[in-house]
C-alpha cells in the first residue's frame, strides 16, 4: 500500500463552519409557534376536554370528591398526566390513578393508550373515555396531525354513557362523529 508522505503540521480552518454561517445569514427566519412535548400537550388536552364535558349528577358522590382520571399511560405520558394532580376544574380537584383491574366505576375519565385495553371502552357508566387510537367506542380520540395534536369526538358512545360535550369543544374538534 502506498503511504502518504509525512507532512509538516497543518491547521485546517473549519471551512464547514464558515459555509454554515454564510448559509444561515441567507435564510429567512419565521416566528416560531409555541412548542411542548407530545405528552405534555396530550395532558393539557385531557384537562381542556374535561373543562367542556358534563357528567350526570350521579357520577359524583359528594361535592368535594375529586375528579378521578384513570389511565394505563406509562412513562413520560403518565408523568405528564400526574402533573395535573391537584389542579382545580369544574370545582373539583384532579386525581390521577392507574387503570383499575376491573370496572371503571371509580373513574370519571379514562385515558387509554394501549389498544389491548379497548375492552374497557363501551361501558354504560358515566366515564369520559379518551384514547390515543381510533375506536368506535371511544368518545375522544387524540391524534398526531403533522406537528400538532388534534382530536375527534364520537357522540354515540358519549350519549350511551350520559355524557355531554359543550358546543365549544365540538367546534374545535377535527371531526365529530354523530
Amino acid at each position: 500500500m502506498p503511504s502518504k508522505p509525512a507532512t509538516a503540521p497543518r491547521r485546517r480552518p473549519p471551512a464547514l463552519l464558515a459555509g454554515l454561517l454564510a448559509l444561515a445569514a441567507c435564510l429567512r427566519v419565521d416566528a416560531a409557534p409555541p412548542t411542548a412535548s407530545e405528552a405534555a400537550i396530550k395532558a393539557a388536552y385531557v384537562f381542556n376536554v374535561v373543562k367542556f364535558t358534563e357528567w350526570p349528577d350521579a357520577a359524583f358522590g359528594n361535592d368535594d370528591d375529586p375528579l378521578v382520571i384513570c389511565t394505563d399511560a406509562r412513562g413520560e405520558q403518565r408523568s405528564a398526566l400526574d402533573s395535573l394532580v391537584g389542579k382545580q376544574t369544574r370545582e373539583r380537584s384532579v386525581a390521577v390513578r392507574g387503570l383499575p383491574d376491573r370496572d371503571l366505576t371509580d373513574c370519571h375519565v379514562a385515558v387509554i393508550e394501549d389498544r389491548a385495553n379497548d375492552g374497557r371502552l363501551g361501558g354504560r357508566q358515566p366515564v369520559l373515555t379518551i384514547t390515543t387510537f381510533d375506536h368506535a367506542e371511544s368518545m375522544v380520540h387524540v391524534f398526531v396531525d403533522g406537528r400538532r395534536l388534534r382530536f375527534a369526538v364520537r357522540l354515540p358512545p358519549a350519549k350511551q354513557a350520559a355524557i355531554t360535550f359543550s358546543a365549544k369543544l365540538l367546534g374545535v374538534a377535527a371531526t365529530v362523529h354523530e
Binding site: K4, L17, L20, A24, T35, S37, R147, R148
Partner: protein
C-alpha cells in the same frame, strides 16, 4: 419493556418532575417551549396551535431500564457549572474521571482507567467518538455547544448487545437537542484564571413550518497547570469549534436530520522522551495540534408508538500531529434500526451496520509504525426481543450483537436480562452479558521506545549499558473478553426520594498486557541493550463493585444528589505489572451535589467529591506511582435578574491550591489540577 439504544431513555428531568419546573419556565421564556403548568392555562384554540417538539418513540422510563443507567440532564449540566464533557461525568456513580493535565482526562467505568483507557463506547448523536487508532477517546477533542446538550446517558457495564464492540465497561451517549428545541439566539462569554476566556453563540431559527435549524460557534482558551514541583506545565490549550443542525419533518411520520461540527485545537505541551544517553530522558515542548469535523444524516420514520425505523449515515474526520505521530482518520458509518411489536408479548429491536475506517498514521521521533495505511471494515447486526412473561411484572430480554471485524473476525456478544417489578415504584433487574473489546490498529503496528533504564540501576542490574524498553504491537492479537453478572434495584421511596443501586461481578480474559522478551545488544547509534515488550492477551482477572445513586428533593427549593461507588479489580497472572488494573482505580468514590434555589432569581450549587487514593499507577518513567486521595468542592452561584439574562460565578476545586488526579502511562510529566475561578454571562435574544 426493553433496553433501547440510549436515545430512547427517559430523562431524569422528567422523572424528577416538580424540582425541574423552575428551569423549565426559564427555558420556556427563551425558546418558546411550554411547560406543563403553562399548557393547562391555554385555551383549546391556543392548544391547537402548540407544536410537538419531537415526535418521540415509545419512551422507556428510566425506572424500568434493565441496566445500570444514569442520566445527566441539561439541568444537571447547567447546575454543575462545568465547561467540558469529561468534567460532567464526575457526577456518575461507577465512572472514574481523572484529569491528567490541563488538556487531558482519563475516563473509564468500573476500573481499567488510563489516558488510553479503551473499554468505553462513547457516542454523540449516534456518532462514535472513540478513536479507532487505540479504541480510547481523545476527550479534549470532544465538545459541542454545552447548553444544547439535552442529556448524557451513561450505562455502566456491558452494553454491547445493542451498541457493539468496545462497550465492555460502559456506554456514554451524548444527545443534543432537536433544532426545534433551540429556537432563538443564545450568547455566553466568560473569564477566569484557569479557564481564561470562553465564549460561544448559537442561533436557532425556523426556516419554514416543517424545518428548524441552528448554527453555533464557540471558543475556549485554557491556561497551563503546574508540574509536580511547581514549574509551569506548558499545557495551555485552545479550541475553536462550530457546527449546525437542521431538522425537517417530511410528514407526520418521517423526519430528517442533518448535522455537523468542525473544530481546530492547539494542544502544545511538554513531552518526556527516553534517550540513550544520560540523563536518559529529555523534555521537549511539543507543538501538537488537532482538528476534525463530521457530518451526520438521519432519517426517522415513526409509524406508531409500537413501530419505528431509523437510518443514519455519517462521516467523521480527525487529524492530529504530535511528538510521536501524525495521524489522519476518516470514518464512514451507516446504521439501520427497526423497532416493532409483533404481538402483545414481544417487542423486537434489530439493526444492521457497516463502518469503514481509513487510518493513516506515521511515527515521529523514535516512534515508528510497521504499517502506515489501514482500511478496516466492520459489519454488524443485532437483534433483541423483550418478552413479557407476566404483564407489568416479569420481562425477559434476550439479545445479541454480531459483528465481523478485520482483526479478529466474527464476534458474538449475547446478553440475557430479566426485569421484575414487585411494586409500582420498584424495579429489580439482573443480567448476564458477554462483551468484547476488539483490537485496534495502534496496538498492532506500534514500535514505541517508552523508557530507558540507566546502567546498573534496578531492574537493569548488573549491566554497564543502558536498557531501552520498547513496546511492540501484536498482529495476531485477540479480543479482550468479559463475562459480566449484574444485579440492580431501583426504588422510588417517595415522591421526593429515589434510589438506584447496582452490583456487578465480571471475569475478564485475554486482557492486554506486555510480556518482556529477551535482552539484546544494540551497537548503534550508541551501544545499549534493548528489551522488547510484546503486547499480548495474557491478562485475566475479575472485577466487582457496587454503585449507588440517590436523589432527595428536600424541599421545592433544595435537592441533594449522591453518587457512591466501591470497586475492586484483581488480575490473575504472574507477569510484572500485575497490579496494573487494581492500582489505577480508586476503591471508593463519592459525589454529593446540593442545589438550592435561594430565590426565584438566585441559585446556589455545591458539589463535593471524594476520590480514594490510586494505590499504584503503572507508569513508564519508573516505579509505580501512588496518588493520594482527595476531597474537593465546586461552587456555583447563579443570578438571573431577568429571564433572559444569567450571570454565574464558579469556583472549582476550592479546598486545595492544587491536587494530583492521575499520571499518564507514558511521555507526559505529571501535573497538578489547580483551584480555579471563573465567571460568565449568558444572554438569550
Amino acid at each position: 419493556m426493553r433496553l433501547l439504544p440510549p436515545a430512547n431513555l427517559k430523562t431524569t428531568a422528567q422523572m424528577l418532575g416538580a424540582a425541574t419546573l423552575l428551569s423549565t419556565s426559564i427555558t420556556a421564556a427563551a425558546t418558546g417551549t411550554l411547560g406543563a403548568d403553562q399548557l393547562v392555562e391555554l385555551s383549546l384554540d391556543e392548544l391547537l396551535n402548540v407544536e410537538i417538539t419531537s415526535v418521540s418513540k415509545k419512551a422507556e422510563p428510566l425506572q424500568d431500564a434493565p441496566a445500570a443507567v444514569f442520566v445527566i440532564s441539561a439541568d444537571d449540566l447547567r447546575r454543575s457549572g462545568v465547561r467540558s464533557i469529561p468534567d460532567a461525568l464526575r457526577m456518575v456513580p461507577g465512572v472514574q474521571v481523572a484529569q491528567i493535565d490541563a488538556q487531558r482526562w482519563a475516563v473509564s467505568a468500573r476500573g481499567f482507567n488510563g489516558r488510553f483507557a479503551a473499554r468505553l463506547l462513547v457516542l454523540m448523536d449516534g456518532r462514535s467518538l472513540y478513536s479507532p487508532l487505540y479504541s480510547g477517546v481523545y476527550w479534549e477533542s470532544q465538545d459541542t455547544f454545552i447548553e444544547d446538550i439535552e442529556r448524557i446517558e451513561v450505562i455502566r457495564g456491558p452494553g454491547a448487545t445493542l451498541w457493539g464492540a468496545n462497550a465492555v465497561n460502559g456506554v456514554i451517549n451524548i444527545i443534543t437537542r432537536s433544532a426545534a428545541d433551540t429556537i432563538g439566539t443564545r450568547v455566553y462569554a466568560g473569564l477566569g484564571d484557569q479557564l481564561e476566556a470562553f465564549a460561544g453563540a448559537r442561533h436557532g431559527f425556523r426556516i419554514d413550518a416543517d424545518t428548524d435549524a441552528r448554527v453555533y460557534v464557540k471558543y475556549k482558551e485554557h491556561d497551563e497547570f503546574e508540574l509536580v514541583g511547581g514549574a509551569d506545565a506548558n499545557d495551555d490549550w485552545d479550541n475553536v469549534q462550530g457546527g449546525f443542525r437542521v431538522d425537517h419533518a417530511l410528514n407526520a411520520h418521517d423526519s430528517l436530520t442533518l448535522q455537523g461540527d468542525a473544530f481546530t485545537q492547539d494542544l502544545s505541551k511538554f513531552v518526556d522522551r527516553p534517550t540513550l544517553t544520560a540523563p536518559f530522558t529529555a523534555r521537549f515542548l511539543d507543538s501538537a495540534e488537532a482538528s476534525g469535523g463530521n457530518l451526520i444524516g438521519r432519517w426517522t420514520r415513526t409509524l406508531s408508538a409500537d413501530e419505528d425505523l431509523q437510518l443514519q449515515a455519517y462521516v467523521d474526520y480527525y487529524e492530529r500531529t504530535e511528538q510521536f505521530a501524525d495521524l489522519e482518520i476518516t470514518t464512514y458509518d451507516v446504521d439501520f434500526q427497526h423497532h416493532f411489536t409483533p404481538s402483545a408479548r414481544h417487542e423486537i429491536v434489530w439493526g444492521l451496520g457497516y463502518r469503514l475506517t481509513d487510518i493513516w498514521v506515521t511515527g515521529r521521533g523514535n516512534v515508528s509504525v510497521t504499517d502506515s495505511d489501514h482500511e478496516d471494515h466492520l459489519f454488524s447486526g443485532f437483534i433483541q426481543d423483550a418478552i413479557t412473561l407476566v404483564p407489568e411484572r416479569w420481562t425477559l430480554i434476550l439479545g445479541s450483537k454480531f459483528e465481523h471485524n478485520d482483526f479478529t473476525g466474527f464476534e458474538a456478544q449475547p446478553s440475557a436480562r430479566v426485569v421484575f417489578k414487585p411494586a409500582q415504584r420498584q424495579t429489580l433487574w439482573a443480567a448476564i452479558s458477554r462483551a468484547v473489546r476488539t483490537p485496534s490498529v495502534g496496538e498492532q503496528v506500534n514500535v514505541i521506545p517508552f523508557q530507558t533504564i540507566p546502567p546498573n540501576t534496578p531492574p537493569n542490574f548488573p549491566n554497564p549499558l543502558p536498557l531501552q524498553l520498547v513496546n511492540v504491537g501484536d498482529q495476531y492479537d485477540d479480543s479482550v473478553e468479559q463475562l459480566a453478572y449484574e444485579l440492580g434495584w431501583r426504588f422510588d421511596a417517595s415522591d421526593r426520594l429515589s434510589l438506584d443501586t447496582a452490583l456487578y461481578y465480571a471475569e475478564y480474559d485475554n486482557g492486554r498486557i506486555a510480556t518482556p522478551g529477551a535482552v539484546s545488544f544494540v551497537p548503534a547509534p550508541v551501544p545499549h541493550t534493548r528489551q522488547l515488550l510484546q503486547l499480548g492477551n495474557d491478562l485475566e482477572g475479575e472485577t466487582y463493585g457496587i454503585e449507588l445513586a440517590a436523589t432527595w428533593d428536600v424541599s421545592d427549593s433544595t435537592r441533594v444528589q449522591l453518587a457512591y461507588s466501591h470497586q475492586r479489580t484483581f488480575d490473575h497472572d504472574d507477569l510484572p505489572g500485575d497490579d496494573l488494573n487494581e492500582g489505577s482505580q480508586p476503591h471508593n468514590q463519592l459525589s454529593l451535589r446540593t442545589d438550592i434555589a435561594l430565590s426565584p432569581q438566585l441559585e446556589l450549587n455545591l458539589w463535593g467529591r471524594y476520590v480514594d487514593r490510586l494505590p499504584a499507577l503503572v507508569v513508564a518513567t519508573g516505579p509505580a506511582v501512588s496518588i493520594p486521595s482527595y476531597t474537593e468542592l465546586d461552587l456555583q452561584l447563579t443570578w438571573r435578574p431577568q429571564p433572559k439574562l444569567e450571570l454565574s460565578l464558579v469556583g472549582r476545586n476550592l479546598l486545595n491550591p492544587s491536587h494530583r488526579e492521575f499520571v499518564q502511562e507514558a511521555f507526559t510529566p505529571p501535573s497538578e489540577v489547580e483551584r480555579s475561578v471563573y465567571g460568565y454571562v449568558k444572554v438569550d435574544f
